[in-house]
Symmetry: C2
Subunit: 309 residues, 2 copies
């Protein structure tokens, strides 16, 4: 039997891992010190992933969990049009997981996502727990002289609704993983649409959010926040996914963007110049908040919500 | 049987709670927007508390858990000499806890601590989980034109070591709670030493940290980080606590402060002017990093570490 590993030792190994390849971790002190670019407010968000709720270790590795945790949090910055500044990761790992291996595996995935997104991990915390849980806080800025961060609540009647990519990919990938028929890349290694979000803000987006809880539920939420309704004309479905998965599967990190028609054209041109996938025109914002249509019928309010009762 | 409560509904009730009494919660969007005071870097830290690891609900209420989670995180800002700017709380609550009640109870305690410390909660996340887990990220600033944040690594030979208050109070309070002989205030409602930490930074502290993992272990860590040794002459023991509890009990949020003798006098005067408890002079930093003395014998390296094996 291996003797239990103490927190200081695991933290020391995590520091070693993060210093190779990405920026140094501020764990040596009680708190991290982050230099701020001048101008603009801070944008901050926290997101948790929990074993048995958001993932099963049967279908993704410890590094996948770390990657998904950081990318999921970064998607919230993307949805505000913010640029990542720093992340903090709180890990809770079950005892008996052998030599701190699970914590180190998760942090390896956090480090990979951190490098991929250009968001240094500046702080963290490791604790024991019954279920593997990773809570990631991300900090971002909008210090480019452009418009302020974009919330959910500014959509205006007549706005076009764009979507940065097809949906259902994550749910379809998980289905393939369960059936043993695919590698599950879209489920295990999602990408936050950070460049797309920033361009959308600079193009004059009125409202924006990611569709991580499912396109249908999140479009309803955007309309709720804006006091508006919508007509959804088209749902881009990811390869291998069903329409149901595209509407309600969740864990897709595409962005919904509401903006006026001429700004939509500006945005589409900017995406093309930057070599990004062309966004789809999926619908329109309408003034009557009771109108929530998909084609000719009502769009069901469904998606991924935690049951807390 | 009550029907399960959905996340949106619980979040709406949490927003209502936080808007009464403290500042509005930024949960309506994917991320919160925080205005920054000019000057100085950001100080950031994350801290988790887990049921069965850091607390038992038999000995503290849901609001106590929320209070402890936020105060524990704020203590890390105190230990850097930073002033709180904002907090984000990620809650993972077990299913079957009835009507989101547990999440709301925890957030009530977070809100109380937030008001007591003047640190608005700007963001959060609620998820299902096997064990109640609260991860709190705190952001602070040092934009007062004074010295930069104070780490652990700057203690110099000859520095005096001060402690802001007696230790062991939390462990003794938990012991009394278990025995049914006391209300457990020091365990259930600890206070972060934010004013003390800020004054210590402005007084020229070389190194500082809180003693949340136990005075003995944390003094060793401060010496490790500074490449120095120490002589611990005196251990202020909280009323009702034993010397063992004072050295290794943990969850005390007093601050260890290393600074030169004349700055120590400045600090003590400043504490008196501000009506703060006089700090105790507990020891001295020495150059030989092998010297780790308590009185005439070695100080054991013990305290509270998570066993992750």
């Amino acid at each position: 039997m291996t003797p239990p590993v103490e927190e200081d030792e695991v933290l020391e190994r995590i520091r070693g891992m993060l210093e190779n390849g990405i920026e140094a971790l501020g764990l040596r002190d009680d708190a991290a010190v982050v230099d701020l670019p001048a101008g603009g407010p801070l944008v901050a968000s926290v997101d948790s992933v929990v074993e048995g709720v958001h993932f099963e270790l049967a279908f993704c590795s410890a590094p996948d969990v770390g990657w998904k945790a950081l990318m999921g949090a970064l998607s919230d910055l993307a949805a505000m049009g913010a640029t990542p500044l720093a992340a903090l990761a709180a890990l809770c790992v079950p005892g008996g997981s052998g030599d701190g291996e699970l914590a180190l595996g998760v942090m390896a995935g956090v480090a990979e996502a951190s490098a991929a997104a250009g968001c240094p991990v500046v702080g963290g915390d490791v604790s024991a727990s019954a279920a593997l849980t990773v809570a990631v806080t991300v900090l971002g800025t909008v210090s480019d002289g452009g418009p302020p961060p974009v919330g959910r609540c500014g959509a205006l009647p007549g706005d076009e609704v764009l979507l940065t990519g097809p949906c259902g990919g994550s749910a379809a990938a998980l289905r393939a993983l369960r059936a043993g028929t695919g590698p599950g890349q879209a489920y295990r290694r999602p990408l936050a649409r950070l460049r797309e979000g920033r361009i959308a803000r600079l193009s004059g987006a009125h409202a924006m959010m990611d569709v991580s809880d499912g396109l249908a539920l999140d479009l309803h939420r955007l309309a709720d926040a804006s006091g508006a309704g919508f007509r959804l004309d088209e749902v881009p479905v990811a390869p291998g996914a069903t329409l149901d998965e595209a509407l309600g599967g969740g864990e897709d990190y595409e962005l919904l963007i509401a903006l006026n028609g001429s700004d939509a054209t500006t945005l589409i041109d900017a995406f093309e110049r930057e070599g990004l996938r062309p966004p789809a025109r999926v619908g329109t914002v309408v003034s009557d908040s009771e109108v929530r249509l998909f084609g000719d019928g009502p769009l069901q309010r469904r998606g991924w919500q935690h049951r807390l009762g």
